[in-house]
């Protein structure tokens, strides 16, 4: 689809907004609608759109598969790591109140971190699945 000018221009215009919207959904999830899962999917959708229009190789230059593969695990580890951190600070597993002197502030911090973990894993898994589907040739 590299030769379709309209598609290329529209995609180039849209992708920055999709990415910014994903970040907004990610970090504003405690106040407005959204959260890690939605943000991860929207973030991945931007990369998938790029891959559809400009080809798989261009998308893999932007998001190298090795890096994405590491991120798949990194998100889960971040989530579980927050749980371990709360254990070490003397609370129950995933009880974020102990993360800060002020329990409510601790809850905020914990939710921010675990939503980030969710977002990273979801985005990385979606991008990886797309890469594997798109990279497979018909047998």
């Amino acid at each position: 689809m590299i030769h379709y000018v309209v598609l290329r221009v529209v995609a180039k215009l849209l992708i920055p907004f999709i990415l910014v919207f994903a970040l907004y959904v990610q970090f504003h999830g405690d106040f407005g609608p959204g959260g890690g899962f939605q943000a991860g999917v929207i973030f991945a959708a931007a990369f998938i759109l790029y891959g559809l229009i400009f080809g798989l190789e261009a998308a893999q230059r932007v998001a190298p598969p090795e890096v994405v593969r590491v991120l798949v695990a990194a998100g889960v580890l971040l989530f579980a790591g927050v749980g371990v951190a709360t254990l070490l600070l003397g609370g129950n597993y995933l009880n974020y109140s102990v993360l800060s002197a002020d329990p409510v502030h601790g809850q905020h911090l914990g939710i921010l971190l675990i939503e980030l973990g969710v977002g990273i894993t979801v985005a990385a898994v979606m991008i990886t699945i797309f890469f594997y589907f798109a990279g497979r040739t018909r047998s």
Partner: protein
């Protein structure tokens, strides 16, 4: 092809319905996953598969038995569930009122969906993320190109 397109449109409509029901978080997910990514993946699958089914050999009886038994067990499990939309169902009486009353002071996050998902039910969300992780690993294992071993050709 038309079916894939229709299911994408259906998902988008469902997202609008969810939006009208004030479930914005779910509507987001439906629009992004249902209308966006799964449509792309379905189209990718269509382009990878042919229009005819490969002749298959061997038994199909054991898979049928497994599927029917699992389905029967699942249906049996739904028999003692409360009626759909029952206001006295445990889900509306047990912890939901406590979350609604205490969440603003305990967690202090204005979006109660986030406070329930991320804080009160953090274990469940961790489990969900692990499921997504496992799904990703599964797709990688299934679709990974097999390494060509010393000239025995590409097997796929």
């Amino acid at each position: 092809m038309a079916v894939v397109m229709l299911s994408g449109i259906y998902s988008l409509h469902s997202a609008v319905i969810l939006l009208a029901l004030d479930a914005v978080d779910v509507a987001f997910t439906e629009a992004a996953v249902g209308a966006g990514i799964s449509t792309v993946l379905m189209l990718a699958t269509l382009s990878l598969t042919g229009s005819t089914e490969r002749e298959r050999s061997g038994h199909t009886l054991i898979p049928v038995i497994v599927v029917v038994a699992t389905g029967a067990a699942l249906i049996y499990g739904t028999l003692d569930m409360p009626r759909f939309g029952d206001p006295d169902a445990p889900v509306h009486r047990h912890v939901a009122p406590r979350y609604i009353e205490d969440s603003p002071t305990e967690v202090g996050v204005p979006n109660m969906v986030t406070s329930v998902l991320a804080s009160y039910r953090g274990y469940d969300t961790l489990g969900e993320v692990t499921v997504i992780f496992t799904a990703g690993v599964g797709v990688m294992l299934l679709l990974m190109r097999r390494r060509v071993k010393s000239g025995d050709g590409d097997s796929s």
